[in-house]
Symmetry: C2
Subunit: 211 residues, 2 copies
Amino acid sequence: MQVQTRAEKLKLASAARREQGKLELKRQILEAAAHLFSTNGYEDFSLRQVAEAIGYSPTTIYLYFKDKEELLFVMAFEGFRGFGVALQHAYDSAPPAERIWHIGRAYVDFALANPVQYRLMFMQRSDYLARPAPECYTDFIDSFGVVTKAVAEAMKRGEIKLRDPQETATLLWVNVHGLASLVLTNSHLTPENIEPLFHWMMQMLQREMSV
Amino acid sequence: MQVQTRAEKLKLASAARREQGKLELKRQILEAAAHLFSTNGYEDFSLRQVAEAIGYSPTTIYLYFKDKEELLFVMAFEGFRGFGVALQHAYDSAPPAERIWHIGRAYVDFALANPVQYRLMFMQRSDYLARPAPECYTDFIDSFGVVTKAVAEAMKRGEIKLRDPQETATLLWVNVHGLASLVLTNSHLTPENIEPLFHWMMQMLQREMSV
DNA sequence: TGACAAGATTAACAGTGTTAAGTAAAATTG
DNA sequence: CAATTTTACTTAACACTGTTAATCTTGTCA
C-alpha cells in the first residue's frame, strides 16, 4: 500500500464531509417524521408534510428513502432498536434471579412510555417484524432473543423448570404484549391502575415456570 | 285508529320496498368492501374501488355511509358483532364448569378464522373499541362482558377463587389476545403449532384462578 | 299533466405518493 | 483557471385518493 497524494486525501475528506451532511439530513427527516407521526397519528402521516416541516421539496425525501413505506419502516425499526436496548438493559442491570421479572417490567414500561411507537411496531404495522433489517442497522438486538436467553439461563441455573425455552419465552411474551396492547387500547386500563394486574400476571408466570 | 285507504297502504308498501332496496345496497356495499379489504388489505382499501366493484359511482357510497371512516367502522363493528356472538355461543354451549376454557378457545379460534377482521378490530384500528356503536346495531353483545359473567358465575359456584371478576377476566383477555395477536404477527407461530401453547396457557390460567 | 322528491351521477377541489425532467451550484478534471 | 461532470435539489406532471356541490334522471303524487 502506498501513501495517497494530498489531492486524493482532500477528495476523500470532502466526500466524507458530504456524506456526513447527507446523514444529517436523513436524521433530520426522521426526526421531523417521528414528530409529525406522534402528533398526527398513523392515518394522517404524509411525506409532503414531513418535507414542509424541514423546508425541502417533497421529492427530496426520495433521495434518502425509497418511498413512504421505507421511511415508516425505518421509524418502526428505530423503535425496535430502542426496544431491544431497553430489554437488554433490563437483562444486564438485574440480578440473574430477577432478570425475567425485570425484562417484563421493561417491556411494559417501554410500551407505556412510547405508545405511538409501540402501536406502530406491534399493532398497526406488525408486518414489519417479518421484514429484514435495513442495511446499516447491523448492531441490532433481537428482543425476543433476550427473553429466550434469560429463560434458558434460569433453567440452567435450576430456578425454573426445564422446558423448551422458546415456548416459555413465548408464554411470557404473550402476557406482556397482551397487557401492553390492552392498556394502549382500553381506556379503563391506565398506566397507573395496571400495577396490581401486572404484579399478579408476573407472579402467575413465575409460579407457572417453577411448577 | 282508522283503517288506511288502499292508496295509503300502497304508498307505505312502496316506501318500504324502497327502504328495503336501500338496505340491500348498503349490504352490497359492505360485502364488496369486506371482500376488497380482505384481499387488498387495510392500506390499499379505497372507496372508489368499492364503488367500481358494485358498479356505482364513488359518491353513491356517501348516500349510505357518512365517509370512509364510517364504512370502515361499520366493517369493524360487524366483526365485533360476530365476535360477540362467537363468545356468547361458547358460553351457552359449554357446561358451566368448562365455560371459561371454551370461551378462550372461541376467542383464539375467531382470530385464526378471521385474521383480517381481527387485525382491524384489535390491532390496526383498536381505537374503534372506544367508539359508541352505530345506531341500528342495538342487539350488540359485549364480548368482554361475556367473559366477566362466566368468571363471576364460576366464582359464585366456588369453582375459582373469589376475586375482582373484572380483573380476573382481564387477565384471561390479556392471554387470549396476546396469543391471538402473536400468531397473526409471528410467522413461526401457526394455527397448527400453537395448540400446545394454547393448552399450557389455559391450564396455567385455570390453576391460577383456583389458587 | 306538472310539481316534487329520491337516488344516483358528473365535475371539481384539495391532497396524496411517486416519477421524470430540469436546474443551479459545487466538485473534479485537463 | 476554464470546462465538464456530479451532486443535491426543485419543478412539473401523473395517477390516485377522499369529499363536496351542483346536476340529472326517474318514478311518485296531487
